[in-house]
């Protein structure tokens, strides 16, 4: 292979392999959340009225707002990949900064949303929740676990975006080597994908 002189030091790279690894990780994540959705489905099937009552306690506006901004952030991270492919570093950085900002806003909203409920006593073991029926307790248990694990993923995403932004600044990620950005994008779309199902199942119960 080394039959011609290389100008730069040759670093082994396998972008396709990196991406394959990321997809395999995404599949494990889909099955993890899939099992939580399965638990949700069984409990809702057994407690339809209680789940509806629980769902009515959630703020539809807040849920819709978070859905909209998360979708926008998915678009901006997808656009940042196009920008880096075109070699447009500035645009890529701007788009990623918007994504990072939205991720933080999402968590701030979650803080207020959870904060209001916890203050009211609507948390696992809380007074207000214990007064409600068995089914509603299950609903809120699932709500905190599922949106909590999702929020944890948002937090990890924030870390990834900060890393990717610094790497682009340092020219470590550029138009011919951007698999880190691509995989971060895939991760972020997964976070969006999960929220797409969490939103109607918790906020839009009829």
């Amino acid at each position: 292979m080394e039959n011609h002189t290389e100008h730069t030091s040759h670093v082994h790279r396998d972008d396709e392999g990196d991406k394959m690894g990321m997809w395999l990780f995404i599949f494990t994540e889909l099955l993890l959340f899939g099992m939580l959705f399965l638990i949700y489905a069984v409990y809702r099937y057994k407690n339809p009225v209680a789940f509806q009552l629980g769902g009515n306690e959630l703020d539809v506006f807040m849920g819709t707002f978070n859905t909209v901004i998360l979708l926008i952030s998915s678009a901006t991270v997808a656009m940042s990949i196009s920008a880096i492919q075109k070699g447009n570093k500035k645009q890529a950085l701007a788009l990623l900064s918007v994504t990072l900002f939205i991720a933080v806003v999402f968590l701030v909203n979650k803080y207020f949303e959870w904060g209001a409920k916890i203050e009211y006593g609507l948390y696992p073991g809380g007074d207000a929740l214990l007064e409600l029926g068995h089914g509603t307790i299950l609903f809120f248990g699932l709500y905190y676990v599922m949106s909590g694990i999702h929020a944890l993923h948002i937090l990890i995403g924030i870390g990834l975006f900060i890393y990717v932004i610094t790497q682009i600044r340092k020219e470590k990620i550029h138009s011919t080597d951007y698999v880190w950005l691509e995989n971060t994008g895939l991760y972020w779309h997964l976070v969006d994908l999960i929220w797409i199902f969490l939103f109607p199942l918790f906020y839009l119960i009829h």
């Binding site: 396709e16 997808a78 196009s82 797409i196 109607p200 009829h206």
Partner: protein
């Protein structure tokens, strides 16, 4: 495989995809106001499924990438639906 040319998706395409996703979200919220009984959940899940497909196909580049990823994704979905089916089959006949 590394010789493959990378497909650059235009900003316009991403913009259109985002618009579609936002419209579907609006539809999903609007449909909640209609009284359709259990059909409400079905419609909400169908819309969510459509949104998920759009995200997977365009944002996650399944349309432009190696078809292997599409095959795996469909397989994971089939496994999930099978587990769902078997579980509910069990619960409905208890």
């Amino acid at each position: 495989m590394s010789q493959e040319k990378h497909h650059i998706v235009s900003y316009t395409t991403h913009g259109i995809v985002l618009a579609v996703l936002l419209l579907l979200t609006a539809a999903s919220v609007a449909v909640t106001r209609l009284e359709m009984g259990p059909l409400n959940t079905l419609v909400a899940m169908l819309i969510a499924g459509a949104k998920a497909a759009v995200v997977l196909i365009w944002f996650m580049h399944l349309k432009f990438d190696n078809k292997l990823y599409t095959i795996f994704t469909v397989l994971v979905l089939v496994i999930f639906l099978l587990v769902m089916y078997v579980t509910f089959f069990d619960y409905s006949y208890r």
